[in-house]
Every structure is written in C-alpha cells, then in structure tokens.
C-alpha cells in the first residue's frame, strides 16, 4: 500500500560522513532540536534531583497571580500563588516518561505490525490493515476521555492511548519499507543466503533500514504527546493538579487571558512552542539529511 509512504530510500550504506553532505539549514534545525532535547533532559534532571528555585507546591495566598519579576518570583505566580518558573521546569516531567512510553508503544507496536504485514503478507497484512483502520477512524480525544473514565485520570493511561493510536502510521511506514525491500529482491536474496528470519527482520529490516524512519517518528511522537496533553488539559482531563504540566499551566492561566493578564498562560505556551518546534525541526532536519544521502 502506498498510503502515507515517506520517500526514504532503501539502502543507507553510503560511507560519506553525513555532515559533509548536509544542508546548512538542516544542520541548524538539528542543532536547535538537539538543544531542545538537551534542555528537556536538563530540566527533567533538575526536577528529579529537586534542584528547583522554589517549592513547586508552596501556596502563597498573598501573592496570587503576581506578575513576572515580582518579589521572589522571576516569572510570577499562578492562581494559587505558586512559582511559575519552578513549575515550568518541573512541567516537562509530565511528558518525559509518559511521552517515552507513548513513543515506545507506537514504535514497538507499529514496527511489529508493519513487519508482520509486510514480511508475512496475506492474512497477517489484512489483520494489521483492519486494526490500523479501526484505530485511525475515531477521534482520539473521545477515546482518551472514555479510557480516563474507565480507569483513572492519569497521564500514563492517556499516553498509552496516544501510543496505540499512533501505531498505525508507524506500521504503514514500516510496511512500505519492507515492500520496497521486497521489490529490490533484497529479502529474497537474504533468505537464499540462509540468514535466519529473525536476523533479517531485526537486523536488516528494522535496524539497517527503518531506524531513521523510527527516529523521525519518535521526535514527532513527542511533539504530539505534548500537544494532546494540552488539549486534554483545556477539557479538564490532562495531567491533574497538583502535578504541574505545561498543558494544565496554560489552561489555568488562560482563564485570565481575556481579562488582559497574559503572562501566566503565555509562559507555558511559549515553552510548548519552543519544545514542539524543536521536535518538529529535529525530525525535519533528520529527514532531509537522510534524504540527501540517496
């Protein structure tokens, strides 16, 4: 099926160092993306080690919705008088592990389904196609709401749904890749050489030929995880207080936006913007460079 096929080429065994051939713009994209990754990782570490400017749960009823640069709060305070900077730093935790979980599920499930459909074909392909279509044809937000109601308002449940619903895309990409390999009789010759199926699948198909594709999907998946949590927060079903997430911070601050108080929602919104953009550009840059290595 040619459905949503990225035109990544088949054989990536060029020996030339990639940065020599790369476009300057793409390098810039990747550099920015890596910077964002670094910042994400750094703030995750800060949160885990509790190296924070202030206690994120410290409520100051005397300083509710204080502006930036006000006494002791560099970025001001939120609707409970809590320090916004601290909660911004901590907010990435809401996405870090859950986002990785979503990506892991999407890539794992997608790769398995894709290889199965592409390699085995026939009935397996039909089942995968059916499952993909099933997951593809229902609004994700509604699915997430129902799952939250059925289990628990927890970001991990949300991310499991996000991961599962993102798997069809990965599966179709991987399947396309396998088909491309088959057309070049790559797999046939590998089988003829007596290489075991597991080696072909894991080493030759997934590792040699799909890793860049999976990497790009991973970056996009992280961006998507953040945006979905934000939308859910608006509806009240994102990460729940007192745990900070950028989504619930934007939501809480936006209640005051129409009154002309921008800062409490704009600060986390900019954090989302910078981060999501970082993941987009990283994906774009990687894709362009791998494309060029044709």
């Amino acid at each position: 099926m040619l459905y949503r096929q990225l035109s990544l080429q088949v054989n990536e065994s060029t020996q030339l160092a990639w940065w020599r051939t790369a476009d300057f713009k793409d390098l810039l994209f990747i550099a920015y993306g890596l910077l964002v990754l670094l910042a994400v990782f750094a703030s995750y570490l800060l949160g885990v080690m509790h190296w924070l400017p202030q206690d994120p749960d410290e409520i100051d009823m005397g300083a509710i919705m204080a502006g930036p640069l006000s006494s002791g709060h560099l970025l001001g305070t939120d609707f409970l008088g809590r320090d916004i900077l601290t909660r911004l730093v901590l907010g990435i935790q809401a996405y870090f592990l859950p986002g990785l979980l979503a990506i892991g599920i999407a890539l794992g499930l997608g790769a398995v389904a894709g290889v199965l459909a592409g390699y085995r074909g026939g009935r397996a392909a039909a089942v995968v196609l059916y499952g993909s279509n099933l997951l593809d044809s229902f609004p994700r937000l509604i699915l997430v709401l129902l799952v939250i109601a059925a289990f628990k308002a927890d970001i991990y449940y949300v991310m499991v749904v996000v991961g599962i619903t993102a798997a069809p895309l990965v599966a179709s990409l991987v399947k396309g890749k396998v088909h491309a390999l088959q057309q070049k009789n790559f797999i046939e010759s590998a089988v003829a050489l007596g290489i075991p199926a597991s080696t072909i699948i894991f080493k030759h198909i997934l590792w040699y030929n799909c890793r860049s594709l999976l990497l790009i999907q991973a970056t996009l998946g992280m961006a998507e995880a953040i945006l979905i949590e934000t939308s859910l927060s608006y509806l009240g079903f994102g990460v729940q207080e007192p745990t900070p997430s950028w989504g619930n911070m934007v939501q809480a601050g936006a209640n005051y936006l129409l009154q002309g108080n921008f800062w409490p929602s704009t600060a986390p919104a900019l954090a989302i913007l910078a981060t999501v953009l970082g993941f987009y550009l990283l994906g774009d840059g990687l894709n362009n460079i791998l494309e060029r290595r044709r």
């Binding site: 099933l134 044809s137 608006y234 987009y280």
Partner: protein, 321 residues
C-alpha cells in the same frame, strides 16, 4: 487507454472497500461500546440527577425498556442500526439522527473550512519551496506554519478572540452557522482559521506534500522529461499534489474532528464535537456510537476517494491492491 479498463479496477476496489467498511464499523462500534460500558457510571445519572439511588437506576433501566446485559444493549442498538435507525439519545430523548443532522452541519462547515484553510496555506508553500529549496522566504513561511502548528490550540483561540473580539471588535462572539447577526459571515471565519492553521495539521500536511512533490519531481523519467523540455506538470500535479492532498484529507479527518472538539468549545460552536463530549460524559452510548460510526464511515469514504483517484491516475497500481 479506453475508459472501461480504467473503470473496472475502480469498481473492484469500491466493492472490496464496502465490505471492509462494514466490518470496520462493526468493530469500531463494538470497541467503543465496550469502553463506554466498562467506564464507571451509567446513562441514568443524566436522567435522574446527582441524587439517584440504586433502586432509581434500576427503575430507569426498566422504564427505558433497555436490555439489562451489555450484549443485549449492544445487539439491540445494532439491530436498530441495521434498520437504518440510530436510536434516541438517552440524555435528551431526541432521535440521534436528528441531533447529528442539526449539529453535523456546523461541524462539517468547520472541518471542510479548516481543511480548505490548511490546504490554501500548505499547497502554495509546498509548491514554492520544492522549486526553490534554499530561499530564505520559503524558510520563513515554513517556520510560520510550524509555529502555528506548535502552539496550544485553545490558547491560540483565546488569543484570537482577545485580538479580534476584545480589542478590535471585528468579530462578535461566535454562535454557529445559524445566526441573525448582520455580520454573520465574518464571525464564521475565526473558528475555521483557527482549526485550519492551528491543530498541528498545517505543519504535517506541508511536510508530507513537500516530500511527495520532491519525490515525484525527483523521479528518473520526470527529470528526463523535464530536461527534454516535455510538459511534466500534469503528471507532477496528479501524482505529487492531488494524490497526497486527497490522502491527507482522508487521513486527517479524525484528527480534525478531535481539534473540532476544542474549537467548538472555545468558539461556542454548536457542533458534533460538543455533542460527543457531552455524550461521553453522560455515557449516552447511542450518541457516541452514532458519531463513531459516522466518523469512521467518513474516514473510509475519504480513503476510498483517495484510492479511486490513485487508481484513476495510475491504473497499473490496481494490480498491487
């Protein structure tokens, strides 16, 4: 090539697609119903109010003449559906079909308007940027598209309302398609623009279109044809633009419907998104199932359209299917 030989594979694909769609609708309704049934609570909360006791709930179940088992409820719903009846909403008692028609118009307007906005935005940039890879201007526009895609949707909506309603007073607070406001048309624009530009769709469509266009233009025979000065734009347009566009339209429908839930709330838009959200909160399963089935059918319809276009453009490909 004679028309009949083009038509035959299309018919084949359509009939196969119809079978697949039927199976799919069955599957999706079963999955959605199971999740609704597994979720705590019941539809009677909406009928009896917060104080409903166990006996009241039981009495309501009997009074509504609903089967008491989950499979009974599902099968009776399915039976009704096969007779072309979506049943009645448990919350409002109104026929679901009627509610869907009333709200559906509003949402279809949003979805197709947004799709149009996305494409009006993405297609020119894609075409332009494929031809001039490194121009600064393409770079800038691309970045703008990405920026809009990377912002929280509802926050962007609030900002738009703040700018256009609060500060400039251009758009009134929106209330849907049917309006007696003399500025009727203008207030219809903002939600569509928001859903089209935000929601992450533009960035993704742009990325996809550019890749496809670059791929088609990079193909051996196109390059050769170009070098010889032969007109390739028709082929490039068909394969590099129309195909991916129909493909994106099909693939992005549920995503846009998700976005519509947000936009409808922000702009107070009486659409399917709000209806579905309320139904999910109320466990109003006839409504949720109807939306699931209709949305899935629409997605299948879109993907069918895409494949028909594909085969029409490229009849050889029907053999692959």
């Amino acid at each position: 090539m004679p028309q009949t030989s083009r038509l035959k594979p299309v018919i084949l694909v359509v009939s196969r697609e119809l079978l697949m769609t039927a199976l799919l609708l069955l599957g999706i309704s079963l999955v959605v119903f199971s999740i609704v049934y597994l979720a705590p609570g019941d539809p009677f909360e909406a009928l009896l109010g917060a104080q409903a006791g166990a006996a009241d709930r039981q009495a309501a179940l009997q009074a509504m003449e609903l089967p008491s088992t989950w499979y009974g409820q599902y099968l009776s719903w399915l039976g009704q559906l096969l007779q072309g009846d979506f049943g009645a909403s448990l919350r409002s008692g109104a026929p679901v079909a009627q509610e869907l028609i009333v709200t559906g118009g509003n949402t279809l307007y949003l979805i197709f308007g947004a799709m149009l906005v996305s494409l009006l935005f993405a297609v020119p940039i894609a075409v332009y940027s494929v031809n001039r890879q490194d121009a600064f201007s393409t770079w800038l526009v691309t970045m703008t598209a990405y920026l809009a895609s990377a912002l929280p949707l509802f926050w962007l909506g609030y900002v738009l309302i703040y700018i256009f309603t609060h500060q400039l007073g251009i758009f009134p607070v929106a209330t849907g398609l049917h309006t007696d406001q003399p500025l009727g048309l203008s207030h219809l624009l903002l939600p569509v623009i928001l859903l089209g530009i935000g929601n992450g769709a533009v960035g993704e469509i742009l990325r996809h279109l550019r890749l496809e266009l670059a791929r088609v233009l990079g193909e051996e025979y196109v390059r050769t044809a170009r070098a010889k000065g032969a007109p390739v734009w028709r082929h490039a347009l068909a394969e590099g633009l129309i195909l991916p566009v129909t493909e994106m339209v099909a693939a992005k429908l549920p995503h846009i419907l998700s976005g519509a839930i947000i936009v409808e709330q922000v702009f107070n838009w009486p659409g399917v998104g709000r209806l579905t959200w309320q139904a999910a909160l109320d466990r109003d399963y006839p409504v949720i199932l109807a939306v699931a089935v209709v949305a899935a059918a629409m997605v299948r319809g879109g993907s069918l359209l895409h494949r028909c276009v594909y085969i029409w453009i490229n009849p050889r490909a029907s053999r692959e299917h």
